[in-house]
Symmetry: C2
Subunit: 460 residues, 2 copies
Amino acid sequence: MFETEQERDRMVEHIKDLIGRKRYAELRDELLPMEAADIALLCADLDEDVPLVFRLLPKELAAEVFVELDSDEQELLIRGFSNSELKEVLDELYLDDTVDIVEEMPANVVKRILQHSDPETRKRINEILKYPEDSAGSIMTTEFVDLKKDMTVEDALKRIRRTGPDKETINISFVIDANRRLLGTVSIRTLLLAEDDDVIGDIMDSNVISVQTLDDQEDVARMLSKYDFLALPVVDTENRLVGIVTVDDAIDVLQEEVTEDIEKMAAILPTDKPYLKTGVFETFKVRIPWLLLLMISATFTGQIIAHFESALAAFTVLTAYIPMLMDTGGNCGSQASVTVIRGISLNEIEFSDLPQVIWKELRVSLICGSVLAVANFAKLILVDQILFHNPAVTVTVAFVVCVTLVCTVACAKLVGCSLPMFAKRLGFDPAVMASPFITTIVDAISLLIYFRFTTLILGI
Amino acid sequence: MFETEQERDRMVEHIKDLIGRKRYAELRDELLPMEAADIALLCADLDEDVPLVFRLLPKELAAEVFVELDSDEQELLIRGFSNSELKEVLDELYLDDTVDIVEEMPANVVKRILQHSDPETRKRINEILKYPEDSAGSIMTTEFVDLKKDMTVEDALKRIRRTGPDKETINISFVIDANRRLLGTVSIRTLLLAEDDDVIGDIMDSNVISVQTLDDQEDVARMLSKYDFLALPVVDTENRLVGIVTVDDAIDVLQEEVTEDIEKMAAILPTDKPYLKTGVFETFKVRIPWLLLLMISATFTGQIIAHFESALAAFTVLTAYIPMLMDTGGNCGSQASVTVIRGISLNEIEFSDLPQVIWKELRVSLICGSVLAVANFAKLILVDQILFHNPAVTVTVAFVVCVTLVCTVACAKLVGCSLPMFAKRLGFDPAVMASPFITTIVDAISLLIYFRFTTLILGI
């Protein structure tokens, strides 16, 4: 674990130095105690030395490091591997990791990987590849411990000892019948605390929660987190156990989904690549659609201003407060919408809570609006009128601006909290209803309110 | 698991019906196969029936449900418990859960809980309570399996069988010396796959990664996720093992921290309560500081407009394009800032990447800006000039607007990507440098550019 960038850079320098002086044994000894994830981090800066470092590692560690590498580094390594090296790495990988790698590689590399996997693995890889992206099937592994319900604890432990080394986890075993239908689960803890001659069927937990292969990976991850499980069984439509999803993969899914939500909230189409690995044109492509749409919507806001041109020409001072009103409206709206969106995605808020949410936002917005209005009134009179001697800023003008502010804040909060909930209800992603979208709507509303009060109170 | 709200509501109705008809045995049989987290969900809608339902459950399940309840429901239950009931629940709880509950309860309830815990537990609770909020110490549990390095595998398994029932996890055991200093870890898998007379010191993993009690809980959670660990040892300054953090708690921490980041990005001070449980005044308090600050900053944007009042009076049509320019600038800035903030929090982007990030954003912004400018030019000429016959929209005006647009987009992207990185470098939270903050800055910049071009090209 490197605490700082500097520490890591020093280690990279040190490794390059050892390689330069051909001190390979020494380098190997330095690498051995490290965690795979840390060696992978170092590899990102080692460039052409990666294959050399990789070949110094014992094959288990090498395989672990391989899994942690970026897909372009993996591709480079695979292209450099001899056939026997490739086979050795593939033999060490867990099935779900192999599938992840296969999904990222170009066709000719995939072909080579499949050629050098044993037939059974090849068949299983192809099966998992068939599941749609983002489904439980696509992230599961088929390497789990299965038991029969008439086994004794002694049999079960023997089976775990025999088959365990190739399984992704032995912390939970899955009990199936002759047709591979899922009957229950039994944890290693239960097995260890039971008597040797207890029967699995008696000690297993038969209230088993499972997911289906086509379930959304995000739901699966949330379920693992909700129930504090270490692994969740995946069944097909006939309740036959086909795989398991483990907690480490669930954490990755949760992180990915959060990134996606955050991207959507910022009006970006979701990507699944790290920022620095995404090309300029790719970044452009995920950003431009919303920008265009929002720009065009904003030009309609401009029409409102154009419509009240004469009022503005008579009271040019009013124009100066447009940015403040629009920004404050936007900020209030985004506060409400983002809070509600996060609440929805954590299952804290449901559509039936709508009246409660609206009532709460209404009260919050009135308090916020009043405080902002008072602060703004003070600023208008003390700074603009008295300090800057601007005679156009009369008490009436200040009053119009502040009343507009209160109404804008209220509208912004109400639009902000309700749109995501309606979106969810209608089957859209609530995250899209975040700041940029809300801002555009609130802008138009706040200007309409502003000009309505202007014509009403100032009598233009 | 309830798939929909409707399903859950039906179940709540059904339970209330059973209670109304005093069919307690039947109710118990319905509840027994459910997961604790689901029963807790039901309790949220069962109101005054919660204590009754709770008393129907066997004590292990009751304790599991208790942990999953909201803190106000927990408080209500504890207040209703007899002393012996309280003791029974407390005996079943894991230490870290008890600590979580103690942290949320008012003083008189805490006193009752501590009175009814056994002295050893009380001492441990008090120790954990001493650690600062958000530290590794505050989320760890002290219930782990410890082994000595000269034990044989047989001894170790015996010890796990004997002490296991009270431990939070038996999947990993921690090897310590006579001074409780951490020597290594050994997984249950390694133990099961080893020979009975192997010695722990020989099979343990001595390259052990640990955290210190005062380390930030977010770093701890990220480490668990990075290394795919199920538990991470927590040591004091003298490397003595004092506790462990398990993966389920790490997931909760990650979720909390994401919520905090999202809140900060939306200019809200972080809270740790679910939305519907937060009072109106509390919500007001976390929202108003940024609103006030941003409103005041936005009034300075207004000064820019006031300064160019004469230009606007001559060309009132220019005012109509202010919202579009400001919004687009804000959207571009927030896209860049949010992408970079997320990259920083996932450790994908570091300060040394700044030149690369800026160079990339510059190119993206030029492409985005050009596309937006072309679209906007077409709209100005085709819609505003030709369709709406607005003679004020000349080709020169359209040109000014579009050149401003390109410059605004570029500035917005550059400010958006660099501010979070500087914030991080200076030790501030980059998440604060998100949309609202960036928008305010970009607003001012875009108006300055707009008026500069206006005076320059239109010669006002």
